[in-house]
């Protein structure tokens, strides 16, 4: 027994002797990390304001769900599972890592609450955690080196591959796990050799394997491994700590903050400047982001937090068709800029224009603001606000493509991008044939209504889309709604105007419409245009409740007020395309599907990319006027996805989707094989009048029976 404790003392003597060295490494490591982080924070203090300190409970919920709960990760099953495993490992190992570090300075230290049995259980858990993390790292390295998932590739125009750095960082973590396990194993092996009882429960764990390997070695050798394990752990730990802020693993430190301060409300846009009221905007010298310092601190934190996982660009429709935009590199380029202009030593430089240096104009105009990137990002990095801010900067400098200047000018003078006369805004409802079926009143001081049907420019003026307007009006009429339209008094909702960075013009349109809507005295608004819906819901203030027609339809189907005729069974297979501003930005996924599924005999399939992974049609509003450089139309890709799903009718619920999809059907050569229809048009077509007969059997059902 005496011999045993002597040899144990031998084994741990280095802990006492090396105390000064370990303390030095601790201090160096912590001081180095503190210095690096302080330098990294400099641009954040020079950045624009961003009010993100509100609603702590909602933010905490966000942190629990997306950070601790790793909510987004399962969307990519392989990488996601690996990440969840080693994230859980890190969380479990955090306390152990601290304990080990302190032991170097104070050998007898035991984390409070982890003495005795609890400590033993924790040890078993951490042994397995370290093992899992180690193997996850090995798999991750193999994935990077052998399987090479396409989304990690770096196109030549965006610089060098990031693979070496990624593998290096993964390897360091694997080494850290080995070092930790070696330290643990050497201690256990030493105790075993000294004849002390060793309770080693973590069978098949990395420390367990190492213990077995070490038990047959001599005590001094074990002592050597013990020391080496400790030193390797400490050095690797601090090296990682100080190296991570230089690359893709900085998110280990920043992710919790990035998620906590993430955007809370979908569908919204950041104001031009946080804390500046609309009336004061004329005094603001410069709009939008022109230099790096014009970004908000949160947006800079986004740049630091990006893990370079490529999920955003993997889902970006603009990137998919070869437009010059990749959300991933929007971030990486900004981070590289920050690292270069805010170096570790010396004076930070600033003030360089971003457009023309790291970003190109086409790159920034290429975004459809579909939100697929943001939906995917596990770290909740924001893109739309940055794109819009960069556009605001370009608009402020007069830097707007000629193809967009015409519609913007027309919006200014006529209130619609086509430059059509205001008095023709209600023409869609004034056809003789249509008026015999349905009369749409224009609201003024004489004609009031409960419900406003907000039509918006494209549905009012585009020959094809007017049919959506008529279908919507007929549905509302059929439901017995007391509704009307603003007619000439309705200007474009300005949704895309705002998203294309023309805030002042947007405010003029919004103010005009707000006044017209409030003067009309309506108590609710219905629209069939998701862009108008999003604008009225999120960009306007003091509006009565707004609904999209699909919500109205779904509610009335559920209440039983609305029944549909069966569709003719002629081999039609329907698929529903989620418009971005109905789906991702407003989470209306189920209502349109419920409406479709309530149509008897309708066969519906889902596309691979649907609901929150829906693939944009190519963009609405002003995007229809912009001519991006691309290899293929976004819509063509979407139509092919529908064909792959086995569908031959694409149902959508947005006039802009209709433009793009109908065009794409022609471009893809699928004319005659594929058609597109708006949900409102389909519903209107299938509406069965529930004229109840005396016996209570709906007339229409009888008709169907006789027909069969």
């Amino acid at each position: 027994m005496l011999e045993g404790s002597q040899s144990h003392a031998q084994l741990t003597a280095w802990l006492e002797q090396g105390r000064v060295l370990f303390l030095l490494i601790h201090l160096l490591g912590v001081a180095g990390f503190a210095y690096i982080v302080a330098r990294r924070l400099i641009p954040l203090f020079r950045a624009e304001r961003d009010l993100r300190f509100d609603q702590p409970l909602a933010r905490l919920h966000k942190a629990l769900k997306f950070w601790l709960g790793q909510w987004k990760h399962p969307r990519y099953p392989t990488a996601g599972t690996l990440h969840i495993l080693f994230f859980a490992g890190f969380i479990l190992l955090a306390m152990r890592a601290f304990t080990v570090l302190i032991v170097g300075v104070s050998p007898a230290f035991v984390m409070p609450g982890l003495s005795g049995e609890a400590g033993r259980v924790y040890e078993v858990i951490t042994d397995y955690a370290a093992t899992v993390v180690f193997f996850c790292m090995v798999i991750a390295i193999v994935r990077r080196l052998v399987f090479k998932p396409a989304r990690y590739e770096v196109p030549a125009k965006f610089g060098k591959a990031h693979k070496a750095d990624a593998v290096f960082l993964l390897a360091l973590i694997a080494i850290l796990m080995v070092a930790d396990s070696l330290f643990e194993a050497a201690k256990a092996a030493g105790q075993a050799q000294a004849g002390q009882p060793v309770a080693f429960a973590a069978v098949l764990s990395l420390p367990w394997l190492l213990t077995i390997a070490l038990t047959s070695t001599s005590l001094p050798t074990i002592g050597g491994f013990y020391f080496a394990g400790y030193l390797l752990h400490e050095v690797t730990f601090y090296f990682l700590l100080c190296y991570r802020p230089f690359g893709i693993q900085f998110h280990v430190e920043t992710s919790l903050f990035n998620v906590y301060f993430g955007r809370l409300n979908k569908g919204t846009l950041k104001p031009v400047k946080w804390g500046v009221r609309d009336e004061q905007l004329d005094q603001v010298k410069s709009f939008g982001v022109k230099t790096f310092e014009d970004f908000t601190w949160k947006h800079m934190l986004d740049f630091y937090s990006c893990a370079d996982c490529g999920r955003c660009s993997d889902n970006c429709p603009a990137n998919a068709v070869g437009r010059p935009l990749s959300p991933r590199f929007l971030t990486i380029k900004a981070r590289d800029y920050a690292f270069q202009h805010y170096p570790m030593f010396g004076k930070p430089g600033n003030g360089q224009a971003l457009i023309g240096s790291i970003y190109s104009e086409d790159e920034i105009w290429s975004c459809t603001t579909c939100g697929a990137c943001e939906e995917e990002c596990p770290l909740l990095v924001e893109y739309i606000d940055k794109i819009v801010d960069l556009r605001r900067g370009m608009v402020d400098d007069g830097n707007v493509p000629q193809s967009l200047q015409k519609p913007l000018k027309a919006l200014e003078s006529r209130g619609n991008p086509y430059g059509k006369m205001e008095k023709k805004k209600a023409d869609w409802a004034n056809g003789k044939e249509f008026q015999q079926v349905c009369r749409v009143k224009t609201l003024d001081h004489k004609n009031g209504a409960d419900t406003l049907y907000f039509v918006d420019s494209i549905t009012a003026y585009d020959d094809r889309m007017q049919s959506i307007g008529r279908a919507t009006a007929k549905i509302l009429d059929h439901l017995g709604e007391n509704f009307g339209i603003l007619g000439a008094a309705e200007k474009d909702s300005g949704h895309e105007v705002r998203r294309f960075g023309e805030e002042t013009l947007f405010m003029a349109l919004r103010d005009h419409n707000t006044e017209a809507i409030q003067a009309s005295g309506v108590t609710r608004i219905v629209t069939a245009d998701p862009h108008a819906y999003n604008a009225l819901k999120h960009d306007y203030r003091d509006m009565p409740p707004v609904e999209h027609i699909s919500q109205v339809l779904a509610r009335e189907v559920k209440s039983g007020k609305l029944k549909f005729n069966p569709v003719e069974n002629d081999g039609k297979v329907y698929t529903y395309h989620d418009p971005c501003y109905l789906g991702r930005h407003n989470q209306i996924y189920d209502d349109p599907r419920a409406v479709l599924d309530s149509i008897p005999g309708l066969k519906r399939v889902e596309m691979k990319r649907s609901r929150d992974r829906s693939f944009c049609c190519g963009g609405g509003g002003l995007m229809l006027f912009y001519e991006p450089k691309e290899e293929q139309r976004i819509g063509v890709k979407r139509v092919q996805m529908a064909a792959d799903a086995g569908a031959n009718v694409i149902v959508t619920a947005c006039p802009f989707c209709m433009v793009n999809i109908e065009d794409a059907i022609k471009v893809a050569g699928l004319e005659g094989k594929m058609t597109a229809i708006d949900l409102a048009e389909l519903a209107d077509q299938q509406i069965a009048l529930l004229a109840l007969k005396a016996d209570g059997v709906p007339e229409i059902q009888q008709e169907c029976v006789t027909r069969r």
Binding site: D282, F287, V395, D396, D397, G398, N399, V400, Q402, L404, Q405, K406, L408, K409, A410, E412, S413, R414, G419, K420, M421, E422, K423, E502, E503, T504, L505, A508
Partner: protein, 263 residues
């Protein structure tokens, strides 16, 4: 370089449906929206770019009423340093020569090295630039689609000739150039820019300020008078092809070949 750009406010052809008034003396102006004459916008952009390279000032000037101040403000929002409105009751009804006369007296008041106009007004006849140059006895070049500031008091300019070729000329300053669209990509001006220059004063000069003989301008002096407007009579209509895409394509080929379009 001191540059003067003569601009004009016209009904925006892309945002209006042009109809004639009841007695066919004018187009119906009730619901028209107006904007800067498009070629003039290119002229201002070109002036701004020259000034950005070589220094100097850009002044925009128009002849008209108080409504026309709007286009001066728009071009000032683009970056023009000064805007001047030439307005007087006696200017009303001036023909191209009258406008050139008014502008000539304004040019004489200042010290401009270069005078630009758009190639033509969308509601005009491309007259003013040439006449203004003649009245000032300045060299004139029309349809200019590039300007290079050379050594000394010379410009190298070009215009497009048949087949997309360029003809390069040298011209002495001061001179008058009429600018073709496509010479540059004019910058965007939104409401925000216009609001920012809303309080910049725009001087208004009348005939007296310009020491102009009222008899030399206006309706009485006009030697070209508008006598009528009419809408072209509807033709016989086009032949509509109603077959399948392939049939139509073949028929189009036949038709084009029959008319000698294909050899």
């Amino acid at each position: 370089m001191e540059i003067l750009v003569c601009i004009r406010r016209v009904p925006d052809t892309s945002e209006n449906e042009i109809t004639l008034n009841a007695d066919r003396t004018d187009i119906e102006r009730e619901e028209l929206v107006y904007s800067i004459n498009e070629p003039d916008n290119y002229a201002v952009e070109e002036a701004l770019q020259i000034v950005a390279r070589c220094g100097g000032n850009v002044t925009v000037v128009t002849v008209g009423g108080e409504d026309d101040e709007e286009v001066l403000r728009r071009e000032m929002a683009m970056g023009a340093n000064h805007g001047v409105l030439l307005s007087d009751d006696v200017f009303g009804g001036s023909d191209g020569r009258g406008l050139a006369t008014i502008l000539k007296t304004f040019v004489r008041k200042g010290n401009y090295d270069l005078i630009l106009t758009g190639v033509q007004a969308e509601d005009g006849g491309a007259q003013v630039g040439g006449m203004l140059a003649a009245m000032l006895d300045y060299p004139f070049a029309s349809l200019v689609n590039s300007i290079e500031v050379g050594q000394g008091k010379k410009l190298k300019i070009s215009r497009e000739i048949e087949g997309g070729n360029k003809e390069i000329s040298e011209i002495d300053l001061p001179c008058v150039l009429s600018i073709q669209t496509g010479i540059n990509e004019p910058r965007y001006v939104g409401m925000r820019g216009i609001r920012a220059v809303a309080s910049v004063p725009v001087p208004i000069y009348g005939a007296a300020d310009l020491a102009l003989d009222p008899g030399s301008v206006g309706a009485t002096a006009a030697r070209v008078k508008r006598v009528d407007y009419f809408l072209p009579t509807l033709g016989g209509g086009a032949e509509m092809l109603t077959g399948s895409r392939e049939e139509n394509a073949e028929r189009v080929l036949e038709l084009v070949a029959a008319k000698g379009g294909l050899k």
